[in-house]
């Protein structure tokens, strides 16, 4: 991006099965700990697959103080509001707003955007119609007549995919450009892509980007299992014995603003967004091209947008969901772009699970910590690298990034791929 408006990250927040802060999630990754356990939100003893990275023992008040919201939005929204609130809080942007003269505040708010990647429809909410279906049997007339006495009148408002956008706006006063991206797993990282673009093009001066999702529910697990996408034991990215993915749940968020604004207000800069790419493969809902065509083009587009070459990339946070054909095509896409000069590759889903719409966003937040610490964490479940990929610089042991730039990859249904490049701050070279 040749524009003079550089986009930096000045706050981040996250919640998943490993913890309630980016630090605790990062520590778990570095210590080889995984949040993936037997499912607790329902009795899954009879299930052929029964693992997930659930957020347990966290009450709603910890996530969102306002009790009214606990009933008026879904749990996925509470995660999103929690992560977004944490990122905004850490950036110090609200405290800074309080120092502005009163007449400058409305414009400040109108220049503050909210972009979410939302998991959108979950399935459980539809079961709230079960008592009515039972009562009405197959009598539709009765279904309509008894509706008002059986189902919560606010049902629709509670399940809106854009509830996080709405309530981040209300709670934090952000009134600018906004989007709720419902592009399955790539939604979260696309929120960062669009937020950064809004700032570069002066549509906004700052924006919160958040991804949130709660895929750990019976109907989703059952169907992913039927599609052959779920592992019964662990997520093993790039391993010869990889057998599928495991769901996680939660949210992650980053606060973005211009480099100039961040410096002027003395904010701590965590990283810089350098460029991004987004592509599709036109194959259908679950099809993936074996050669990784879409993903390799997304990476090339991101490199071009950032104005850097493959050799400048210091580390890769792969999508690495542990699904056999997904990891294989991802390894091939990386080979296509980097040839035999691949930087260290890692992936985090073995520790946190696959958070679907929040996955790429959580990977981005963890990548900030990796660059901060100059550490590419090992993939703890990687026992035996798939020989097809060798040589491939993924390891169960920690590695060192070869520069202060990380490439984050995210893939989803519909053959979608998103690639995002960030620079850590202070950049490795300047330390």
């Amino acid at each position: 991006m040749s524009s003079s408006r550089q986009v930096v990250i000045t706050g981040c927040g996250a919640v998943c099965g490993s913890g309630l802060s980016p630090e605790s999630i990062w520590d778990a990754v570095c210590q080889g700990r995984s949040a993936i356990k037997e499912i607790r939100s329902w009795d899954a003893r009879r299930w052929p697959v029964r693992l997930a990275g659930e957020v347990t023992d966290v009450d709603n008040r910890t996530l969102v103080e306002d009790r009214k919201l606990h009933k008026s939005v879904l749990r996925t929204d509470l995660f999103g509001l929690y992560a977004a609130g944490a990122a905004i809080q850490r950036s110090g942007i609200s405290a800074y707003r309080e120092t502005l003269p009163a007449d400058a505040v409305p414009l400040f708010n109108e220049r503050s955007g909210v972009l979410a990647g939302s998991g959108g429809g979950n399935y459980k909410n539809q079961y709230e119609f079960f008592p009515l279906l039972t009562e009405a049997a197959d009598d539709m007339e009765r279904f309509g007549r008894e509706l008002g006495t059986t189902v919560n009148p606010m049902w629709l408002l509670r399940i809106l995919p854009n509830n996080v956008v709405c309530h981040v706006g209300i709670r934090h006063g952000f009134k600018g450009t906004n989007a709720c991206i419902t592009n399955q797993s790539v939604g979260g990282l696309m929120a960062v892509m669009e937020a950064a673009a809004a700032i570069v093009t002066s549509e906004a001066d700052r924006a919160i980007a958040v991804g949130h999702d709660t895929p750990v529910e019976p109907e989703t697990l059952f169907n992913y299992h039927r599609l052959g996408l779920i592992s019964a034991d662990a997520v093993r990215p790039f391993d010869q014995a990889r057998s599928g993915t495991v769901f996680g749940e939660g949210a992650a968020a980053v606060m973005l603003e211009t480099m100039d604004d961040a410096k002027a207000r003395g904010a701590t800069i965590l990283g810089e967004v350098l460029g991004s790419g987004c592509t599709g493969e036109a194959g259908g809902v679950v099809e993936l091209r074996a050669d990784g065509d879409g993903l390799s083009r997304a990476i090339q587009n991101a490199l071009r947008a950032a104005g850097i070459s493959p050799d400048d990339v210091g580390m890769v946070v792969a999508h690495g969901n542990g699904v056999p054909n997904s990891d294989a095509s991802e390894a091939r896409a990386l080979r296509r772009v980097f040839g035999d000069r691949l930087p260290p590759v890692t992936a985090f889903k073995w520790s946190v699970g696959h958070l679907i719409a929040a996955a790429g966003m959580l990977d981005l937040v963890l990548a900030l910590y990796a660059l901060r610490d100059g550490l590419v964490p090992g993939i703890a479940t990687l026992n035996s690298l798939d020989p097809e990929f060798v040589p491939f610089p993924a390891s169960p042991l920690p590695q060192q990034p070869r520069s202060g730039i990380a490439l984050i990859l995210c893939r989803g249904f519909g053959g979608m791929s998103v690639a995002l490049l960030i620079r850590g701050f202070p950049s490795a070279s300047s330390r």
Binding site: S3, D43, R46, N109, G120, G121, Y123, Q126, Y127, F129, F130, P131, L133, M140, F143, G144, R145, L147, G148, V151, N152, P153, M154, W155, L156, L160, P161, N163, V165, C166, G169, I170, K175, G176, N178, A179, C180, I181, N183, G187, T201, E203, P218, F222, N223, R226, L227, C278, T279, G280, A282, G283, G284, V285, V286, G294, F413, G414, G415, M416
Partner: protein
């Protein structure tokens, strides 16, 4: 920055309650013909509202559509396939292997992915006594259908469309309730300007006209209950308005680089000239009575297009026919247009079509393009009794021939997202 890229609308396609293609829809809108009637898709006799804007006699997408792919398509995705095919045919250009990477897709996607029969199936295995029992999925007799699950994914429509038309560039699905379609067009414009792609198929699709969708709106009390006068039920800005009418359909537009469109001699409907996008940050359903929120989206769209309020000839209003929305939107129009407000023709084509929810903004974008091309502002049907809180220059009684240099379209959603799009006549107002 270098000179900003201009974006041309060169094709459009519609499937709506008033017509299964763009010409038929346009003709109905000009005549003020309503597409609202008793719901026939299912037995709605017990519901407080029993009317809707259904798509009628829809034969399915035309052209060469893969049968297997159709299994992955919800009813709203089929509307989308048909509208998108019409738009591409109209534009006279479509993705080919050499250009697939330079085509993008941006859609406002409806939020409902599961068909009523599928919910009933799960109910009969996993909730027959009213309580959900997860182990019901494990029943040997449970006829789990992975295709139905794929269809229910938030980006399933996107997957079906990219596959059908071979689109391999940037693709996105957005959902901000009733603002979705407008925001999808806005995203498409921005992606074009950023140079990520050279063409975008942009639009929206939705159908909530099923027992669960109708329930959702009935429970909220958002719908008109004028079951005995369906054609008059949607009457935006009329003093007696009493709620919106739920409708379904799809609208798609082909966007391409202005210079490229000129070079290939493509007829241009209009320039998609500006996007405004704001968040009311007020309440989840209500808009602020002052019009705060839509005021910002309208101002931004005009500023983005390099226009002033005085340039606007026609507003395709969000105009849902709910008491609150129409009042708030008019307050916003007054604030933005100030003393020019009487010179701007305003109509809500929801008066004929009803509210297409996530598709509304895209369908109404196509209506603005048609209004500019044909030089006619479509009528705000069913407007009889003026509301002093809605004192804008409505297109009354019949559609109004007039030169439209600039049109804007508002889409204001539950959740407080507001979208305004600005359109400019291809021969008007040389770029500043």
């Amino acid at each position: 920055m270098t000179q900003r890229r201009r974006v041309a609308i060169t094709g459009l396609g519609l499937v709506t309650p008033v017509g299964n293609d763009a010409p038929t829809t346009w003709e109905s809108l000009l005549a003020g013909r309503s597409g609202v009637g008793p719901i026939r898709g299912f037995d709605a006799s017990g519901f407080s509202t029993r009317i809707g804007g259904e798509v009628k006699n829809f034969a399915g997408p035309s052209g060469d559509v893969n049968k297997k792919l159709l299994k992955f398509a919800l009813p709203s995705h089929r509307f989308a396939l048909a509208a998108a095919e019409e738009a591409l045919r109209d534009a006279g250009i479509r993705p080919e292997s050499a250009t697939a990477h330079r085509w993008g897709l941006s859609v406002g996607a409806g939020m409902m992915g599961v068909m009523f029969d599928e919910i009933k199936t799960i109910h009969s295995h996993a909730g027959l006594n009213g309580e959900f029992n997860p182990d019901g999925f494990l029943d040997r007799e449970f006829p789990g259908d992975p295709v139905a699950f794929c269809r229910s994914q938030t980006n399933a429509g996107l997957a079906v469309l990219t596959r059908q038309f071979g689109i391999e560039g940037y693709a996105t699905a957005v959902h901000t309730a009733c603002a979705s379609g407008g925001q999808a067009l806005g995203t498409a414009l921005k992606v074009m300007r950023r140079g990520l792609v050279d063409f975008v198929l942009a639009g929206g699709y939705d159908s909530m006209l099923n027992p669960i969708g109708l329930s959702a709106f009935c429970l909220l009390g958002a719908l008109s209950t004028d079951n005995d006068a369906p054609e008059r039920a949607s009457r935006p800005f009329d003093a007696t308005r009493n709620g919106m009418v739920l409708a379904e359909g799809a609208g798609f537009l082909v966007l391409e680089d202005w210079e490229a469109a000129c070079r290939r001699g493509a007829p241009i409907y209009a320039e998609l000239a500006g996007d405004g996008n704001s968040l009311s940050a007020y309440r989840i359903t209500d808009s602020h009575p002052s019009g705060d929120g839509p005021i910002q989206s309208m101002r931004q769209a005009l500023a983005d297009a390099g226009l002033s309020p005085r340039d606007v000839d026609y507003v395709n209003a969000h105009g849902t026919s709910t008491p609150m929305n129409d009042r708030s939107e008019c307050a916003a129009l007054h604030a933005v247009m100030s003393d020019h407000v009487g010179q701007v023709a305003v109509s809500s084509t929801k008066s004929c079509m009803g509210h297409l929810i996530a598709a509304a903004g895209a369908v109404e974008a196509a209506v603005c393009a048609l209004a500019i091309r044909h030089g006619v502002a479509p009528v705000n049907a069913n407007y009889v009794q003026p509301d002093p809180n809605c004192a804008v220059n409505l297109v009354r009684e019949k559609s109004k021939p007039m030169a439209i240099r600039v049109a804007i379209s508002n889409s204001l959603g539950f959740g407080g997202s507001n979208s305004t799009l600005a359109f400019r006549h291809p021969q008007s107002v040389p770029r500043p």
